[in-house]
């Protein structure tokens, strides 16, 4: 456990060390390359900024209206308890839109049921195998101005559904 934490702390410094020492060995002009890349990165952020504003506003409004939470509740009522616990539906739904909001819900579940309860275990696994679909899709596609996303959304939902199902099964097993 301690080792794992150390590893996660040391991950980035080690990576930077490897990149730089490898570059020195190859006699790359590191600073010049860095500046060139940084300029590139800057341009990319500027190009996605309007997207982010638009997206976060829409999600913010939808959340503030209470629709997301209520929709999650309705879906929770429809899905049989044995297949997917209704307490966890909000986490699964919100996670598709906003990672920080989902984290808040996960912490609520930890507080209420404890991280080692069945629900606690399921949400922990869920958190590690799902992504913010809508956020990722809009940022990545808007960065290259693609509007027709074709089978990305069905595929993403499919993968997420598989991940959710797996979390519930695994969470009940351990």
């Amino acid at each position: 456990m301690k080792f794992l934490m150390y590893l996660s702390d040391a991950c980035i410094p080690i990576l930077l060390f490897i990149i730089l020492s490898h570059a020195f060995m190859q006699k790359t002009k590191v600073y010049g390359a860095f500046l060139e890349g940084a300029k590139d990165g800057f341009k990319t952020v500027i190009s996605i900024m309007p997207t982010l504003v638009g997206l976060m506003c829409a999600v913010g409004v939808l959340r503030a209206s209470g629709f997301l939470d209520d929709a999650a509740k309705w879906i929770g009522m429809v899905i049989p308890e044995q297949i997917f616990p209704s307490e966890l539906v909000p986490v699964a739904i919100i996670k598709m839109f906003s990672s920080s909001a989902a984290t808040g819900l996960v912490l609520d579940i930890f507080r209420e049921y404890g991280p080692d309860s069945m629900f606690g275990k399921i949400v922990s696994i869920m958190g590690s195998c799902t992504e913010t679909i809508f956020y990722t899709m809009s940022v990545y596609f808007m960065a290259v101005k693609v509007r027709k996303t074709r089978w990305t959304l069905p595929g993403a939902l499919c993968a997420t559904a598989a991940g959710l199902a797996a979390s519930v099964v695994l969470g009940k097993m351990i």
């Binding site: 991950c11 940084a38 976060m56 922990s124 869920m126 958190g127 679909i133 499919c158 991940g163």
Partner: protein, 193 residues
């Protein structure tokens, strides 16, 4: 995208008017735009830093070595992408994702999308099958060790916060496998049509 975005806003406003949350909606709209900009400012620094680092790795050939290591995976998922840069950025993104370096993964991913767009021979506003596959793979989450989740579990007094690593990897493997199968079937159907 147009309908999705407009629909989200209209739905939010209509629903909010029914539940009497107009004030909250005003606040949310303004707060979210502020939040988006401050996120962008944070991201600008991170993005500059990581793309800069990636550029070093690219010029020194480290990124190329990595993408060669991932060659079997890349060739399997993206058989038609032969272009060096696109492969390198995709490899960078996949590796950063595996190690949970979300902040490094996004810059690489966005650069990869730009390179894929350059290869887009058709209509530029329509995603290529490589873009679809790359994004689905990204969303299926390739993370090996969910560091944040372990930290939260520890905070809330779990007896064994890291116990979820194994099941987490299994669940991720299942979602990623589903993603791969889905992409393969979708690409195959496209060729036949």
């Amino acid at each position: 995208m147009d309908y999705l975005w407009g629909g989200m806003l209209i739905l939010g406003i209509v629903y909010g008017s029914m539940t009497g949350r107009m004030a909250e909606i005003t606040e949310a709209a303004l707060d979210s735009s502020k939040e988006a900009v401050s996120l962008c400012i944070t991201m600008t620094g991170v993005m500059c830093f990581w793309v800069g680092m990636m550029k070093i790795a690219q010029e020194s050939g480290l990124l190329k070595a990595l993408s060669n290591k991932l060659n079997p995976v890349l060739s399997f998922m993206f058989p038609d992408v032969k272009e060096e840069k696109a492969r390198e950025y995709m490899a960078g993104n996949i590796i950063a994702n595996l190690f949970g370096l979300g902040w490094a993964a996004t810059p690489a991913g966005l650069k990869a999308m730009e390179e894929l767009q350059k290869l887009n021979r058709g209509d530029k506003s329509t995603a290529t099958k490589e873009m679809c596959a790359f994004l689905i793979l990204n969303i299926s989450s390739l993370q090996l060790i969910p560091v944040n989740m372990i930290a939260y579990r520890g905070q809330y007094g779990s007896a064994d916060p890291a116990m979820i690593v194994g099941p987490g990897i299994a669940a991720t493997a299942i979602s990623t496998m589903t993603a791969v199968v889905f992409c393969k079937i979708a690409a195959w159907r496209e060729v036949r049509m």
